[in-house]
């Protein structure tokens, strides 16, 4: 009976950390708190003499599940934006990921990029820029669901899609075409006036043959918030 009090004090830490875990809204913070919960749970199990359960909790519950979930959250909470490569890079035909820090701050695209990043940050999403060599490759990447959104300037819009030419007299310089309805709802009204947002339905935008609806990235983005 004399050793009961510290058992109670330690076991009381378990609902405390569990309450912290379920009140987190940021998924990455929740992962770290899950690690704390796993450490406290391993302590409680070892305290009750279940050494094997404590070891399993520390190895699987804390190490493996947190790492796997961190990779899963990192690759699903992301918006891929296809952009045209600058003239110097355009000789290499392959898509290539640009580090965001390389973008010049004084460039006219900077306010649009920061507005994008800010409005995506409310939903704990990241922005990833993928460069393509030509406007045709950009459109193909959108229709084959390689990217979620493509970034065009007005004259490229005219070149590639003559059907949308009446929109060319308006002020926006950049046009962002997205194929995900939920991204369109999130970004609507958040962009500066130099950019306009257009929702394109991938099923009727071109005559390309598409694979049957796998919807992996679509579903993860739509249900994430």
């Amino acid at each position: 009976m004399t050793e009961d009090w510290y058992v109670v004090a330690i076991v009381a830490l378990l609902p405390l950390t569990a309450g912290m875990l379920v009140t987190q809204v940021n998924p990455y913070h929740a992962l770290v708190i899950r690690g704390i919960l796993g450490a406290v749970a391993a302590l409680v199990y070892a305290l009750f003499g279940a050494a094997d359960v404590a070891l399993t909790e520390a190895l699987v519950g804390t190490m493996l599940s947190i790492t796997l979930y961190a990779i899963a959250v990192r690759s699903s909470l992301m918006m891929r934006v296809g952009v045209l490569a600058p003239e110097t890079i355009s000789t290499s035909g392959e898509a290539e990921i640009v580090a965001v820090s390389e973008i010049d701050r004084s460039h006219p695209t900077a306010p649009v990029l920061s507005a994008l990043r800010q409005s995506l940050g409310k939903y704990h999403m990241r922005l990833e820029l993928v460069t393509y060599a030509s406007p045709l490759a950009l459109q193909a990447a959108l229709t084959t669901k390689d990217v979620h959104t493509i970034w065009l300037t007005s004259k490229e819009t005219l070149k590639s899609e003559p059907a949308e030419s009446p929109a060319s007299d308006s002020a926006p310089v950049y046009q962002l075409q997205t194929r995900v309805r939920r991204l369109y709802e999130i970004l609507q009204g958040q962009l500066p006036p130099t950019a306009e947002l257009v929702y394109v339905n991938p099923t009727d935008s071109s005559g390309l043959k598409k694979p049957p609806e796998m919807g992996m990235s679509d579903d993860s983005t739509e249900t994430s918030s």
Binding site: Y28, H29, V32, I33, G35, A42, L55
Partner: protein
């Protein structure tokens, strides 16, 4: 004497839990996680010595050494997240 050590350790365990709760920076939370992971495994070792139970002691040593591996894996994933 052992009771005083246990009280001190449980109170010291509450400090990083509070820090992980109130700080919004992800790296501060990681630091609190590291602190809690080490403190709980040391607490397991103390309880093992207190009860003279070698099974719990071996598990405490394993958790103490492996828990930091989980921390490093998670820190690498988070660091690449901020770079991209």
């Amino acid at each position: 004497m052992m009771n005083a050590i246990l009280i001190t350790m449980i109170l010291a365990l509450l400090l990083p839990i509070y820090e992980a709760w109130q700080d919004d920076n992800i790296w501060q939370k990681m630091l609190a996680f590291a602190s809690i992971a080490t403190k709980t495994s040391i607490l397991i070792l103390v309880v093992a010595v207190l009860r003279d139970d070698w099974t719990i002691g071996v598990v405490g040593v394993l958790i103490l050494s492996v828990g930091n591996a989980a921390l490093m894996l998670l820190a690498h994933v988070l660091r690449r997240l901020n770079e991209l």
